[in-house]
Amino acid sequence: MRKDLKGLVIFFSLIFLFPLLVRNPYYIGVLVFWGIYSIITLGLTILMGYAGQISLGQAGFFAVGAYTSGILTTRFGLPPWLGILAGLGLSLLLSLFLALPSLKLKGHYLAMATLGFGEIVHVVLNAWVGVTGGPSGFGEIPALSFLGWKLDSEIRFFYFTWGWVFLFFLFSLSLLKSPYGRALRSLHAEERIPLSLGVNVYFYKVFAFLWAAFYASFAGSLYAHFMTFLSPSSFTLILSILLVLMIVVGGLGNLWGALLGAGILTFLPEILRTFEDFEMLIYGIFLILIMIFLPRGLVSLRRGKVATGD
């Protein structure tokens, strides 16, 4: 834990220094996306790495958070905070609805159920033109205001986002250290043991699923207020798959791995600009190779376990 806190301080100091060194708003914006995706992956890694469940529908919760925030603020003029909370509420409801039955089924079935969910969300975004603007989406989503400070520039949003990443990271860390976290880890390894001890395995798994949805939804609301424009193409199955991929590549169940994975997801397209069309191919090969040779993810290359709560 101490190692983690030290790492946390170093890493986030570097992050907070970044905009002072690199002034170009475009690059600051790229790092904002890294922060937003990190929030999603932090949640997903708890679900996948600890509860050992797979969700291929996180883009769906990301979308629910984004669109709820966006629609409530543009169409109904509600203050952004209300929009974010509404998004969280809706996501939690949907995830409960999804998790309760699914977690009774084996891994494949949850995967397919979450895949189905993500796709249904995508279909609705495209088809419910009156509310969501359909395939063309909608824009002019107002900027967030934080304690009277209007977040309408890249640099302000940067600090706001990474502040939240910091908080979510800390929160996840303490969650994993708590009795709940330990229970989660025990059931990932072998379910029959905690079951025989009377642990309500099922309950813990549902809870983990809700967490992942919560994180994704919040990230979605941030995304909406940063982009100020939303269209269904940001919330595809491919994104859900890439998020899972990034958790796996970064390291299952490892919070630093989640950050690393989100970073790869954000920076690879920038680096590969000329080879953009090969991006997916590379992701695919990456994933397969990691699964075969490094099933514990890139983070396992570094000796010693960090932020797994061990």
């Binding site: 063309s136 269209s231 193409s233």
Partner: protein, 376 residues
Amino acid sequence: MVKRLLLLVMFSLVGCLIFGAEYRIGAVFAVTGPASWLGDPEKKTVEMLEEEINAQGGINGIPIRVIVEDTKGDETQTVNAVRKLITRDRVLAIIGPSRSGTTLAVIPIVEKYKVPLVSCAAAEAIVKPVKKWVFKTPQTDRFAVERIYQYMKKKGIKRIGIITGTTGFGAQGRKHLLALAPKYGIEVVADETYAPQDTDMTPQLLRIKAKNPQAIVNWSIVPGQAIVPRNMKELGMNIPLFQSHGFGNIKYVKAAGEAAEGIIFPAGRLLVADLLPDTHPQKKVLMEYKRKYESRYQEPVSTFGGHAYDAFWLIVNALKAVGPNRAKIRDYIENTKNFVGTGGIFNFSPEDHNGLDIEAFEMLTVKNGKFTLLGD
């Protein structure tokens, strides 16, 4: 030591001024993706023109660089691309986007950052109400609808069915179709829509068929323009099909195959340039563009490349006149009069950021797999 350092700095600065100086113009086109038959000719056109200008020494001796971003026909990608061009590449002006939906998405951004945008998309909503920094070169969709209705009135067509895509362009077209029909004594008996990724419009066409219209109007770009005629043929619907001026690429005709015969649509004169009389004021510009493009790229011209051609020259002419200043370029474009382009003859003003009227359209049709003027 200090002297050497100073000399180094001086040389680098001068070097920057000489070698680094260039005029950067941004371009966002749907080069790949469902709207690639719009964006690809647009990209090819601006690249061809960029080379032409630089071969002549650039503008006032300074080379231009056109930075083309591929939007894949997607709104979010377009928003990102425009942001990138403005903040990272600091362009002087932007050509594009290719589609109405994507243009509408980026308007708030160019207005915020105060960068002139000359769009290659057609919806009237882009320039009405007028936005300070936004212009467009394609003819307005409302006039396209009126041109179609004018023709229908002449032919005694009174009952029509409309089928439109749910994209920005399609939705705007539908709005005009519904609003203007009464003016021409036309009744819209069926009003169906489809999503841009749909590959089968049979359910919608069946519903339209049931209402027995005399003609159908389809309004979309993307594959819909080819799928609707094919589905109609499969269902045995022989009534005339009218399309928007988004049909202006021969590839759509090829994709629709036999079903394309007889489709009627309004378009700029580029597609039938060789059929125009020599005295026509646009003929010289049209033929020259056609010749250069077709010999360079070995493929027929499309109206879309023409829109990019017009946008490019508007910006470049402004640059030549007022130099690298976004606000001045904007002012210059706004006051351009009598600009002979491929889309028509443009007359801009502070109230009119499109500069074309209904005369910019000819009615065309498809005969033997080729575009030709619609006879009376």
